[in-house]
Symmetry: C2
Subunit: 482 residues, 2 copies
C-alpha cells in the first residue's frame, strides 16, 4: 500500500464525515438496566460489541488503503484471466503481500481451463466496409482461417428466432435483445450460440448484456452442448445491434465478416490462496470470506472481482491491526477461475470437505460497492435475526442498514450448499455495476475509496461479531450475552 | 427517409407537447393597434412572420424524419474520413437524395488530404504485457516497423515537461492533463507532439481530450512544425493516463510499446455539395446554411457533424414542404474535410469569392443538439437585435430562448471572415458533446429525435425570416414591417 491518498478523498469531506458516523456506533453508553438503548432487549446481545466495532470502523475508514491496494493490484497485473501469466503473477504478489501483513498464507493448487481470445475482428462488409467493436464470448470456438462471411439475421428474442428459423440457415444470427436485468438478458449470452446453431446459423452475435455504454462490448462465458456443433459467438455494442436491426428493417440486411482466433488450450496450474487469522478459542471453527481473483481478459477486473477480494483481505488486516483476535478463525480465500469454470469454488469444496461442519458463515461479494450499499444474506431465520441485529446496531451508523434476501457468490456456493452454511455478501447499486461488467472499462476509477472503506468496515464488523459471539451463527437461537 | 418512427418518439408524450408549444407561436392574434402583443413595438416587425413560423414548426416537429435521415446516413456509410470511399459514397447518396427532395444540387470539387490510420497497437510491456485502448491522432506519423519501445515519462502539463526535460530524451512522454474545457485541454492534442519531440521524446501519448468515458480514447488532429522532426502521437483513455501516473508515483514507471501504421497518401478528389432553394425576389442574395459532412474514422460521425448537416438539409426541405419560398436564396453547403484540413471551407471561399457581398447570413452548427438548445450569433449589434427579436417571439415557444455570444463553425469561418458576414449556430450542452466527440461512441443513439426536430424548427424559422425580411440582416437598422 502506497501512502498516496486518492485525490477524491483529499477533496471531499467524506472521510471526516465517515469518522463521525463511525463514532456514532459507540456514542451511547449501554443502559444500566440491561435493556439496549433502542428500548428493546432484542439487540442487547450485540450492544456488547460496540467498542470493537468502533475500533474496526476507525481503522477501515481512516484512509484509502483498500482503494490503493486495489489500484496496485489492477495497475500492476491488469486483467487476470484463468490460465494467464498475469493471474499467476498476481497470485504470487498477493501471497507475498499477505505474508507481509502478518497473516499465515498458503496456496491450494487447482487446475484451470485456459481459453485464449486470439486476434479477432468483425467487419460490416456491406454496407461498408468498416470495423465494428466486438469481443468474443469466453469459451467460444474460433472461426476458420479467413473468417466467416454471411448475411446477418437480426432477431429480438428466442421466439423470434423460432419464427424465422427457416431464414437462419447459413446466416449470422444477431440477438438484438434490449437489456432488462442481468438475470433475464444473460440467457442469450449463455445459450444464444446453441439456439442459433440449432437453426443452422454459422455464427452468433449478441447485443451486449448491460445498459448502453460508449459503444462498449461486454464479454462473458457462453455455452455449447454436445448435441449441436459449436459456432463462434461474440458480443457487439448495443449501438451496433440497433444499427443492424435498422438496416434489416430498411430492407438492406448487413453482410458481415467475423474472424476469431479463439481457442482452448490444455488445463493449466493455478491456485486458490488461503490466509488465516487464527481463532483465539475455537480455531477449528471458521468464518470464511473471499472473492474471485481471476477476471475476464479485458478491463482490469477491478469491480469483478478485484474489489471483492481486496475488501475480504482488508477485513482480516483491519481486525488484526485493531488488536482484535476473535474466538473463531477468520479465513480469507482468494478463489481462482470463477469466470470460466468455477474450478476454484469446486476445488475448495474438494479440499475442505472435512471442514463442512466447521464453517459457521461464508462471505463473498462479487457485485461491486456502488452506493447505496446493502447486504445480502441467506440462512436460517434465527441466523438472519442475528445479522439484522448487527446491522441495526453496528452498521446503520456507517450507512448500511438493509439486509436483502440472497447472500453469497458463485465461488462459495458449492461449499455452502454442500454444508448448509449461511452465506452473506455486500452489494451495491446494480445499474452502474452492469454498465462496466465484463468490459474494458472495469477499472479502479469506477470505485470510490469511501465506498470501499465502508464495505471493509461493514464486513469486518459482521465477520468479527460472528467469529466472536459465543454461539455459532447457525444455531444461534438463544439471546445470550458474553 | 423511412416511415419508421424512432421508438423514443412513440414512447414519449414529447411530440404532442412540441406541437402544443409550436401552436403557441401563433396563438395570440396580432394587436390591432400595431403594438405587438408583448406590449412593445420593438418586435412588431417579426410578428408578421408568425403564420409561416407555425407552418415551419408544424412540419419540423411532426415526426422523426431528421433523426431517421441521420440514422440512414450513419448506418449506411459509417465514418466519413476525408479521402475515404465511405465519404465519397455518402456524398453520392446525399446528392441523389437532395435531388429527390426537389432541390437543385451540384458538386464543387475540392482536393482533400488523405491520412490513413493503418493498424495500431499500444502495449504496456512492463508491468504486463497487456494492450491498452488507443487511437492514433489524426495526421500523426507512424512508427518504424516493429514499433517503438521506451519507458514512459508522465507529466501533467507543458510546464512539468519543461521542468523534467532532461528525463524526456528517448522516452515516450505521456501528457496526463485532466479535462477542464475543450479549448484549454485540446492544446495538448494540438502541440503535445511538438513539445515532446523538442524535449527528445520518441513518441507522445495524450490523455484523451474529454470527460472520463468508458476507457474511451478520443482521436483528433495533431500538429507538427518544420523545425522539429515529427514523432508518433496517440490518445489513450483517461483511465490509462491515470494508471501510468500512479505507476510512476510508485517508482515503477511503465515500459510501453507503440506500433502505428499511420501514413499520409497523396491528396484525393472530394467535393462540397451545394443545394439551393432559389429566392423568390432576390435570388442573388444568400442565406447559407451548412455543416461538415466528413468525420473522423471512428464512430459514425453522427454528432460531429452528421447532425449539423442533416439539420441544415432539413431546414431547406421543411421550408419547401411548407409551401414557402422566401425572398432570398437558401443555400445548403455540405462541406468536405473539416476535421483534418478545412479544405472544404477554403474551397468554398475560393469558388464563391465573387459572392462575398451576396451572403447575408451564414449558419453552421457543429456542437451537437443536446438540451438545453441555445443559439450562438456573431454580427453587428443591430443584426443581433433582429436575431434576438426572432428568438423571443418565434423561438422561445419551442424552447430556444437564448442567443449566446459566438456563432458559426470552422467551415464557414474563412468565407464569413473575408466578407464580414454575420454567423449563427445552434448548440447544446457541451459536456455530453465532448464525452462522445471523436470517439467510437459518436453514433446516432446519442441524439434524441425531439432535439433534432427542435433544432430544425429553430434554424428553419431563423433562416426563413432572415431570407424573407425586406432589409438585409447586416444593414437591418430600420424597424420596418412588410
Amino acid at each position: 500500500v502506497t501512502p498516496v491518498i486518492h485525490p477524491r478523498l483529499l477533496r471531499s469531506a467524506a472521510l471526516p464525515l465517515a469518522l463521525l458516523a463511525m463514532s456514532a456506533i459507540g456514542a451511547s453508553p449501554a443502559p444500566a438496566t440491561g435493556q439496549s438503548r433502542t428500548g428493546s432487549t432484542r439487540e442487547a446481545w450485540v450492544d456488547v460489541y460496540r467498542p470493537e466495532a468502533v475500533s474496526i470502523a476507525e481503522r477501515a475508514l481512516r484512509d484509502s488503503a483498500a482503494w490503493q491496494r486495489l489500484a496496485e493490484l489492477t495497475d500492476t497485473f491488469g486483467p487476470r484471466l484463468s490460465g494467464s501469466r498475469n493471474l499467476e503473477l498476481a497470485i504470487d504478489w498477493a501471497e507475498a503481500t499477505l505474508a507481509r501483513d502478518g497473516l499465515s498464507v498458503h496456496r491450494e493448487p487447482v487446475m484451470v481451463p485456459r481459453w485464449v481470445r486470439g486476434e479477432e475482428r468483425l467487419e460490416i462488409v456491406s454496407p461498408g466496409p468498416r470495423a465494428l467493436p466486438m469481443l468474443g464470448l469466453g469459451g467460444s470456438v474460433g472461426t476458420p482461417d479467413g473468417g466467416i462471411e454471411a448475411e446477418a439475421l437480426v432477431v429480438e428474442s428466442f421466439d423470434a428466432l423460432e419464427r424465422r428459423a427457416a431464414e437462419a440457415r447459413g446466416r449470422i444470427v444477431v440477438f438484438d435483445v434490449p437489456y432488462t436485468s442481468y438475470g433475464e438478458t444473460v440467457q442469450y449470452r449463455i445459450s444464444g450460440a446453441i439456439r442459433a446453431a440449432r437453426a443452422g446459423a454459422v455464427a452468433m452475435l449478441l447485443r451486449s448484456v448491460g445498459p448502453v455504454g460508449m459503444r462498449t462490448p461486454h464479454t462473458g462465458a457462453t455455452s455449447y452442448v454436445e448435441t449441436v456443433a459449436p459456432i463462434p459467438a461474440a458480443a457487439i455494442a448495443a449501438e451496433d445491434a440497433s444499427m443492424l436491426a435498422r438496416l434489416q428493417r430498411r430492407g438492406m440486411p448487413a453482410r458481415l465478416r467475423l474472424s476469431m482466433g479463439a481457442h482452448q488450450l490444455p488445463d493449466t496450474a493455478s491456485a486458490n490462496l488461503v490466509a488465516e487469522w487464527r481463532g483465539r478459542e475455537r480455531p477449528e471453527e471458521i468464518v470464511a470470506i473471499g472473492g474471485h481473483f481471476d477476471s475476464w481478459d479485458v478491463g482490469t477486473g477491478a469491480l469483478d472481482d478485484g474489489v471483492g477480494c481486496i475488501v475480504a483481505w482488508e477485513v482480516l488486516r483491519v481486525i488484526k491491526a485493531a488488536g482484535l483476535r476473535p474466538r473463531r478463525t477468520l479465513r480469507l480465500v482468494l478463489f481462482t477461475n470463477e469466470e470460466n469454470g468455477l474450478r476454484g469454488g469446486y476445488g475448495y469444496l474438494a479440499r475442505h470437505r472435512a471442514e463442512l461442519g466447521a464453517h459457521v458463515l461464508m462471505i463473498e461479494s462479487d457485485l461491486g460497492v456502488f452506493p447505496p450499499l446493502t447486504m445480502g444474506f441467506s440462512g436460517s431465520p434465527t441466523a438472519r435475526i442475528r445479522i439484522e441485529d448487527i446491522t441495526r446496531v453496528l452498521l446503520a451508523p456507517i450507512g448500511v442498514d438493509r439486509v436483502g434476501g440472497a447472500g453469497g457468490g458463485a465461488d462459495i456456493a458449492p461449499f455452502a450448499e454442500a454444508g448448509g452454511i449461511p452465506t452473506l455478501s455486500i452489494a451495491g447499486e446494480m445499474t452502474r455495476y452492469f454498465t462496466y461488467h465484463h468490459t474494458a472499462a472495469d477499472t479502479v476509477e469506477r470505485l470510490d475509496p469511501r465506498d470501499i472503506a465502508r464495505a471493509v468496515a461493514t464486513l469486518a464488523i459482521v465477520s468479527y461479531v460472528v467469529a466472536e459471539m459465543p454461539e455459532r451463527l447457525s444455531d444461534a437461537t438463544a439471546r445470550s450475552t458474553r
